[in-house]
């Protein structure tokens, strides 16, 4: 322990495996002050700008908000609120493209600024030393501060650790080759940063505070050293420039020699790391009551005329910042959010700046060519092994790449894919220009999704088993109940009283009746057999489908030969079938009638009845919808009354007209009923509609006969 500090004091540090030295491009912006840009016409604030979950919305469209007013309220430690960056009106709450490599949309608040930039009431804290650690954490939490280095972990979660903290490490390494935001922030606002560090000191009371900074920022180092001289706890550790020394695990290893094991938070080793920009935001929030509504963004790249660090309000569209920095108006834009090593290309320039945005890069085509315009230029791996030489996590990138391409998730887990920090060093040195990190990212998301699916499958299995058990239990209970009831009945019948005797004889009579009926049904007309078979068909979908097809065929035949049909007496007596299979039975019955001998006399009736049957078929299709069912019932009653009466030309006409009206209604009901009417229902309606059309054709013909 003591030796670590002694070593640091002597300026000796540890090292991490690998790392690269990409060409330094900080000179583009390092010599210019941070510029304040004017308020844009519209601010877009994604509800979620950090790792975790989004907080609850507190405003509505049309609300007037003041600068610094909270727009969401946090109800969960991993939820971080957002605040209005300026005064104005909420113009919309809708999905918009967010700063995410997927280019997907998420819920965003749109604020139209009123230009007054009017603050809500603020409470300036004059003496921070009076506040307790809990007060400070509350203030940090309500100010919506999340890590500003890139990952965006909620700060209040990080600082409310219960572990005993040995080292508070302030990350000012800023190892990405273009970014100078932290450098400039230190140079211009170092007193605030020291205030922020002191606040963290109060909360965490670490034994030592280490500021890790790379040696390519001499001015910032000078300022920090001067300020740190007043506080014996603070050590400014000047590290040799090497990418990615700003990674959390790498910086910890550089400063303390400790490796953070996989899946373990640094706090369990007694280490907490905060970004230097987060320290500034903490000081602003606690002392000046300014929530996190603006940040320093490096707008850089050789495509810009005036690359510079800017104070950007959160929610400012990237395009607006680029415009302010002299981005030429050209057709093909290649914009990267984040640094060139770990950033991602943006789908549009309307993406807003969020809490984690430290850099916007607009490189010229020569500097970094757009992968979308040129392709990746990837060729086969030549197994040179340079990638494993530079990997700071000591992984085997080439092995990972092969397994990732083969989607061998087991092997990827064995090779510790999830220890990859996606720094991009391997892809940088790859002579075959393989976009290695992309493969790892794809595999990581696949494995994560698979894990989710496995959890869900296991859950479903448990629920399925539980349900099966419950059903079995219910069945046993039911059977038991029936058995007891049957026993009770038997006991009652055998009790020998007169009541029991009469009950017994009633049962015997009923049995005899059933037997007689059975015998009768055996000596029945083929028509009835057909009907009983259609009852069977009702149960079997296949048989019904065949019957339907037959009916269709027959109906077609009828149309040509205008064959005369006779109703079977059963037709009118047929009990009203209410279920969906009605159409099929009706269709099956149609065949029956055609098979019967023809009687001239009943012809008129037959037509009406056929109409009834066909209409039934049609309505049955519509019955799929509950609304149509009611109509069908009505129609049935009407038609049956007509059939019972002697038929007159006139009444038939009326019946006909009614039928058309009902048909129409049913049709409309069926059509309007549901947009998602199933294919099956549609088919049924179609097959049923054909015969009904034939009726209208047939009617005048039969009248002329």
């Amino acid at each position: 322990m003591g030796s670590i500090i002694e070593r640091i004091k002597r300026g000796h540090f540890w090292t991490f495996h690998g790392g690269i030295h990409p060409p330094e491009q900080k000179f583009l912006t390092t010599d210019k002050p941070i510029r304040a840009v004017s308020i844009p016409d519209q601010l877009i604030l994604p509800l979620q700008q950090h790792i975790g979950i989004s907080a609850d919305l507190q405003v509505n469209v049309g609300d007037k908000v003041l600068k610094g007013q909270p727009l969401t309220i946090s109800t969960h430690p991993m939820a971080v609120p957002i605040h209005a960056p300026t005064s104005g009106t909420i113009s919309a709450i809708k999905n918009a493209v967010i700063a995410h490599p997927s280019g997907l949309s998420e819920l965003c608040l749109f604020i139209t600024p009123d230009g007054k930039d009017k603050w809500r009431e603020r409470q300036i804290c004059t003496d921070v030393s009076k506040l307790t650690s809990n007060n400070l954490i509350d203030k940090i939490s309500s100010a919506g501060i999340s890590g500003m280095g890139g990952a965006g972990f909620p700060t209040q979660v990080k600082v409310s650790t219960r572990e005993k903290i040995k080292f508070l490490i302030i990350n000012a390494a800023e190892c990405e080759p273009y970014i100078t935001a932290d450098d400039l922030l230190i140079r211009e606002h170092s007193p605030s940063i020291i205030d922020g560090i002191n606040i963290l000191n109060t909360i965490l009371s670490p034994e030592h505070i280490l500021i890790g900074i790379e040696d390519n920022k001499p001015e910032a180092i000078k300022i920090l050293k001067k300020l740190a001289a007043n506080n014996k706890k603070i050590q400014v550790c000047v590290l040799p420039t090497k990418y990615p020394s700003g990674g959390e695990k790498q910086l910890i290893q550089l400063l303390t020699g400790q490796e953070v094991p996989a899946g373990v938070l640094p706090s369990s080793l007694g280490i907490v790391m905060q970004n230097i920009a987060t320290c500034f935001a903490i000081a602003d929030a606690v002392i000046n009551d300014i929530p996190l509504i603006k940040r320093v963004v490096t707008v850089s790249g050789q495509a810009l005329q005036k690359p510079q660090n800017v104070w950007s309000l959160l929610g400012t569209p990237v395009g607006y910042l680029l415009e302010q920095c002299g981005y030429p108006n050209k057709n093909k834009k290649h914009i990267i959010m984040g640094g060139p090593m770990m950033g991602y290309s943006l789908p549009t320039d309307q993406v807003p700046v969020v809490k984690t945005t430290n850099c916007i890069l607009a490189p010229s085509e020569k500097e970094i060519s757009s992968p979308y315009s040129t392709g990746t230029g990837e060729v086969e791996c030549i197994r040179c092994g340079q990638c494993s030489d530079v990997c700071p996590a000591q992984l085997l990138p080439q092995e990972l790449q092969w397994s990732a391409k083969a989607k061998d998730h087991q092997q990827l887990n064995k090779l510790n894919l999830f220890d990859c920090i996606e720094c991009g060093a391997c892809a940088y040195v790859c002579p075959s220009q393989i976009p290695l990190v992309n493969y790892y990212r794809i595999s990581k998301s696949e494995i994560r999704e698979q894990k989710q699916l496995d959890i869900k499958a296991e859950h479903a299995k448990v629920r399925f088993e539980a349900r099966k058990e419950r059903l079995a239990r219910d069945k046993i209970a039911r059977e038991e109940k029936q058995r007891i009831a049957a026993e009770a009945r038997k006991a009652r019948m055998n009790s020998g009283t007169t009541e029991a005797k009469s009950e017994l004889s009633a049962v015997a009579q009923a049995l005899a009746r059933v037997k007689a009926k059975k015998a009768q049904t055996n000596v029945q007309t083929p028509a009835n057999e057909e009907i009983s078979s259609s009852n069977v068909a009702q149960k079997s979908q296949v048989a019904a489908a065949i019957a339907r097809a037959k009916a269709k065929k027959l109906a077609a035949q009828k149309n040509i030969t205008s064959e005369k049909t006779i109703p079977a007496g059963e037709n009118i007596d047929t009990p009203k079938v209410v279920d969906d299979k009605k159409a099929k039975i009706a269709a099956a019955k149609d065949i029956t009638f055609d098979d019967n001998p023809i009687h001239e006399k009943n012809e008129q009736v037959s037509i009406t009845e056929q109409a009834v049957v066909d209409k039934k078929a049609k309505i049955a299709a519509a019955v799929a919808k509950a609304k149509a069912r009611k109509l069908a019932e009505k129609a049935d009653v009407k038609d049956v009354t007509v059939d019972d009466n002697p038929i007159h030309e006139k009444s038939e006409q009326v019946n006909n007209a009614e039928q058309v009206a009902i048909d129409k209604k049913a049709k409309i009901a069926a059509a309007v009923a549901k947009a998602k009417a199933r294919k099956l229902a549609a088919q049924q309606a179609k097959s049923a509609a054909n015969p009904s059309d034939e009726i209208t054709n047939e009617q005048p013909k039969s009248e002329s006969i």
């Binding site: 995410h100 490599p101 997927s102 834009k333 499958a457 099966k468 919808k625 509950a626």
Partner: protein, 188 residues
Amino acid sequence: MSMLMTTLMAILVLGSMALIFGAILGFASVKFHVEGDPLAEQVDAILPQTQCGQCGYPGCKPYAEAVANGEAINKCAPGGEDTIKKIADLMGVEPPPLDENHDTDNFPKVAFIIEEDCIGCTKCIQACPVDAILGTTKQMHTIIADECTGCDLCVEPCPVDCIVMIPIPKTPQNWQWDLNNIPVVQLD
């Protein structure tokens, strides 16, 4: 004579050694018997557990048992090609294409009840294999989206067709890094 003796000796020695080692091996196989994971269990672990019954079996486990007993391995529609490949690897056979009778559309979905149309018949509740539908007689039903496996079984019994299957939308949380599918719009 000595020649015969030597031969007999050799047979005797080797034969007794074989007996001894045989006994040791036999004892070891009983003593250190490892209860192997039965095949059906392993297949069941691969299946997606939607309990949809599209394979013709009442749930994933019965199908897993059937596969272990020689049923075709290409009947799991929700699992699709991936599941077939995994079972084929496990069984040591060539992965056949998905059964023609099945939809190849295995995009994850979740059922949704259009609540104003629901008449409260409870038919879907009885059909749901994972008890993911909440409701009672003549009361509006609703689906517990987190529990729904998207198996489709509730759609058929609904008499008023008020259940629809909605594809699960892609969000930045469940998004897969597929660089070819990023809607890159190069604005002018």
